[in-house]
């Protein structure tokens, strides 16, 4: 939605999905005739198994990620919709089991319809769950079963859950209306705003920051719900910009606003790539975008299962990741630049860089400014020159420049913003 500048509501209402070559083989999708394939290999496509339109809500991948169990009957999926798209996490609500006999199945099923403590969530949850039975699988180990939408099972919801499909009280005439109901819910836009604010501010947005969210929401609406407009509003806000923290701010406010942010592991990857051309892949797996065998979790990222919050400060693990990424990127870009013709260098400044001389300080200064965004002070330049010279004396120019790039990519001013 963001890359193609589409309205955010299309994420839940689109009558198309997107697929690449791999997904065309996995899912029941066919590229829409005449649609162009974008630079990343994605093309607008449509499912061929009879499912209604509904953006991500009607994709098999979404429900693979958010599975359910026999006894749960799609309730966890309904809760996921509420949490992800409305920022209403029903699981945050206190649960009191009281006198309900949980060992009796009939008693439990009745309780979700009659007991106050259960009804407060289930009256909303169960009707949403009832709309998702086209994704009900009898055998979740059967590839065909789980990759296919089952229109004939849509009616099972009312039978299994004893409620008719609805979206927070508004009846649904089948799952075809689900995405539209979501898009019309005021909380949907508000949630997108909150999510963007938290992602860019790299912290929770507190209840008392209502004015901030209100302002961002206005901008989002004014941009016809284009995500680019929302992003523009967030990064232009006082809360995002370091200058927004005035000297008059209390320590508590300064602590909360956190205008000094650590690069996330994906920001590290893209920033380093932008500067040096180095992307850390191994056998084509992106090492900084892989929690299982790569380094994304060690780099401070999340795995979506056990580690759910990015590390807000550098840790010894992320320091190790940064060190190796910096060394690898430095080695790659310096080797490239020293071999490249004038004008084709990626990072190092122009000029003869192989022997120390009058131009070395200027080159160091230019490199510092390029990576850190500001010219070096005298102390900085002296120190960088000392390091450069020490490595040059030991191993020559290529290693000296590599070392400079490597340490600048580990500088606190590079790793925080």
């Amino acid at each position: 939605m963001a890359t193609h500048d589409r309205p955010w509501t299309e994420s839940v209402t689109a009558d198309y999905t997107v697929a690449n070559d791999t997904l065309v083989q996995v899912f029941h999708v066919t590229p829409i005739e005449g649609e162009p394939t974008d630079a990343a290999g994605w093309v607008r496509s449509r499912y061929t198994d009879g499912r209604p339109p509904g953006g991500i809500v009607m994709t098999s991948g979404f429900w693979w990620r958010y599975d359910t169990t026999v006894g749960n009957r799609n309730r966890s999926r309904a809760a996921a919709l509420s949490r992800l798209l409305l920022c209403q996490d029903m699981l945050d609500r206190p649960v009191v089991f009281g006198d309900i006999d949980l060992t009796d199945e009939d008693s439990t099923e009745l309780a979700v319809l009659t007991e106050d403590t259960c009804v407060s969530c289930h009256s909303a949850l169960d009707p949403i769950a009832a709309s998702l039975f086209g994704f009900w699988w009898y055998d979740n180990k059967d590839d065909t079963e789980v990759s296919t939408y089952h229109p004939e099972r849509e009616q099972l919801g009312a039978e299994y859950l004893s409620v008719e499909p609805a979206w927070f009280g508004l009846p649904l005439d089948g799952p075809v209306e689900l995405g539209w109901r979501i898009s019309e819910d005021d909380r949907f836009v508000r949630c997108a705003v909150q999510g963007a604010a938290q992602a860019f501010l790299r912290r929770d947005v507190e209840t008392e920051e209502r004015a901030l969210v209100d302002g961002l929401q206005e901008s989002f609406l004014a941009a016809d719900l284009r995500y680019t407009g929302l992003v523009r509003a967030v990064v232009s806000s006082e809360e995002y910009r370091a200058g927004g923290l005035t000297e008059a701010a209390t320590e508590a406010t300064a602590d909360r606003v956190r205008t000094r942010r650590l690069l996330s592991v994906d920001q590290l990857a893209s920033t380093v790539e932008d500067l040096t051309g180095f992307r850390w892949t191994w056998e084509r797996y992106d090492q900084l975008d892989n929690a299982l065998v790569g380094y994304s979790v060690l780099g401070g990222g999340v795995d979506g299962e056990y580690v759910l919050r990015p590390a807000p400060v550098q840790t010894v693990s992320s320091a190790a990741v940064v060190m190796r990424v910096a060394q690898a990127a430095a080695s790659t870009v310096v080797a490239h630049d020293l071999a490249a013709a004038e004008g084709e260098r990626r990072l190092l400044p122009a000029g003869d860089l192989l022997v120390p001389g009058e131009g070395t300080d200027a080159a160091l200064s230019a490199l510092h400014a390029r990576i850190l965004g500001a010219p070096p002070g005298d102390d900085d330049l002296q120190a960088e020159r000392a390091l450069w010279q020490a490595v040059f004396d030991a191993e020559g120019a290529e290693s000296a420049w590599s070392s400079l790039v490597a340490v600048l990519l580990q500088d606190p001013d590079f790793l925080t913003y």
Binding site: T69, V70, L91, P94, V95, L102, T103, D104, E105, E251, A254, D255, R258, T259, R260, W282, R284, Q287, L292, V293, G294, Y295, V297, L298, Y306, V307, L308, R309, A311, V313, Q314, T315, V316, S317, A319, A320, V321, M323, Q327, A328, S331, T332, A335, D379, D380, Q382, A383, A386, L387, A390, V391, A394, E395, S399, S403, A406, V407, Q410, P412, T416
Partner: protein, 417 residues
């Protein structure tokens, strides 16, 4: 190795010392904690809860019988000999906590409740709090191998190792060879120069950062660099392959504990074939899971008892905590599985534990009985064993004041030696 950058002036690469240990070798009296987490929700009726005769409870459909082993009333089976062996050998050093309330049936919420005492993301995990109490004196306060991680205010205490030895790969430099783009690895001497330079820049930034969040951010980076420097010496102790047994993972942790490098560790155990504990179908898999768990536990305790501690064996310095985020419904469902259950058990072993103690029990509705925290005996006038009660007990074992984090904490003094 906090050299000022000015001190680098005039140094040659050979003039810098190679990495050396920066932290005290041992914390002596500081108790260590190994958390073994069973994600998915274990079924206490396979080991901890011999509930034959309780209406509505489906006990294991095998040769299981009620038995007293090592002073505990347990479920015994010929298919789980390691359970019997473990309790026979270590029961005198173990305390069993029954009927712990976990008021949710959602995995991610229950994990947070069990590990932080709260359903909201408002508190660090018990393991993080205990580890952070060691301050900056250890290079690896909390070794996170796998499993849940809740780190907010003390994220800098967490050292993420990666299940497949990622941290060792980074520290040893193996990671640099795992790149599709060719990378020239700097010599050891040049790497030492680079690290010294980076450390001095981080220290400068920390001293210039003033107060508040920016200072925390900068201090964390400086500390991470110092810890990284120290850990480079320990890289060979961190080797994991991703195929390691629970005992092998435990041995890595035991080595770090013995060397005085770490205070806490978290390992997830997902069963002998990684089949996990979330048995909505085929609940019989709980049997081999528990067998594998106790086989590994027995090996870990044997290993700890054979290593040297501050005043005896390392087991005398180490508390082992076995947890799962929830229990399982007493009844089998139609797929011979069991759904989630908001009451569970935990097992504490080793240092500081009064052995042979069982806290609490189960009601006829298979919820936890209220207990007298000083005796562990069920009593109508007692308290519910909440996860805050469990957390307060763990913090007390760690000589951390539970009152700093929990309102009106009530540790289970019955289990404290």
């Amino acid at each position: 190795m906090r050299l000022s950058r000015r001190a680098l002036l005039g140094l040659s690469a050979a003039g810098l010392a190679l990495p050396r240990r920066l932290f005290a070798a041992s914390e002596g009296s500081t108790r260590k904690f190994l958390f073994v987490f069973c994600p998915g929700g274990w079924d206490p009726t396979y080991v901890f809860a011999p509930l034959w005769g309780v209406s509505g409870v489906d006990m294991p459909p095998d040769d299981s019988v009620a038995a007293t082993i090592g002073g505990f009333s347990l479920v015994d089976s010929g298919g789980r000999p390691s359970v019997r062996r473990c309790f026979e050998r270590w029961g005198s050093r173990a305390a069993l906590v029954q009927g712990i309330s976990v008021p949710s049936v959602a995995h991610e919420v229950c994990r947070r409740i069990v590990m932080t005492g709260s359903r909201q993301a408002e508190r660090d995990g018990w393991d993080v709090l205990i580890a952070s109490a060691a301050g900056a004196s250890l290079p690896m306060p909390l070794v996170h191998l796998s499993g849940p991680m809740f780190a907010l205010d003390h994220a800098d205490a967490v050292v993420r190792m990666g299940e497949r030895g990622q941290l060792a790969s980074l520290l040893q430099g193996v990671a640099l060879g795992q790149s599709d783009m060719p990378v020239t690895v700097p010599s050891a001497e040049v790497q030492a120069l680079q690290r010294a330079y980076v450390a001095s820049r981080a220290a400068e930034a920390a001293s210039a950062a003033g107060a508040g969040w920016a200072a925390r951010q900068a201090s964390a980076q400086a500390l991470a660099g110092e810890r990284l420097e120290s850990m480079l010496l320990e890289a060979d102790k961190l080797t994991l392959t991703g195929e390691d047994s629970l005992a092998e993972q435990g041995a890595v942790i035991a080595e770090l504990f013995e060397q005085g490098l770490a205070r806490c560790a978290m390992i997830a155990y997902e069963g002998p074939n990684g089949q996990a504990w979330d048995t909505h179908t085929e609940n019989y898999k709980q049997g081999p899971n528990f067998e594998g768990l106790f086989e590994g536990l027995d090996d870990i305790l044997t290993d700890l008892s054979a290593r040297t501690g501050s005043a005896g064996s390392l087991l005398d310095d180490t508390t082992v905590v076995l947890l799962s985020e929830m229990g399982r419904d007493p009844r089998l469902n139609k797929n011979n599985g069991k759904e989630h259950w908001p009451w569970t058990s935990a097992l504490l072993l080793g240092a500081g534990i009064r052995g042979g103690v069982t806290v609490g029990g189960w009601t006829d509705g298979v919820s936890g009985e209220t207990v007298d925290p000083s005796t562990g005996e069920p009593t109508d006038s007692g308290i519910t064993v909440t996860t805050e009660v469990l957390g307060a007990t763990l913090l007390a074992l760690a000589d951390v004041d539970p009152g700093e984090f929990i309102d009106a904490p009530t540790p289970l003094t019955a289990v404290l030696a």
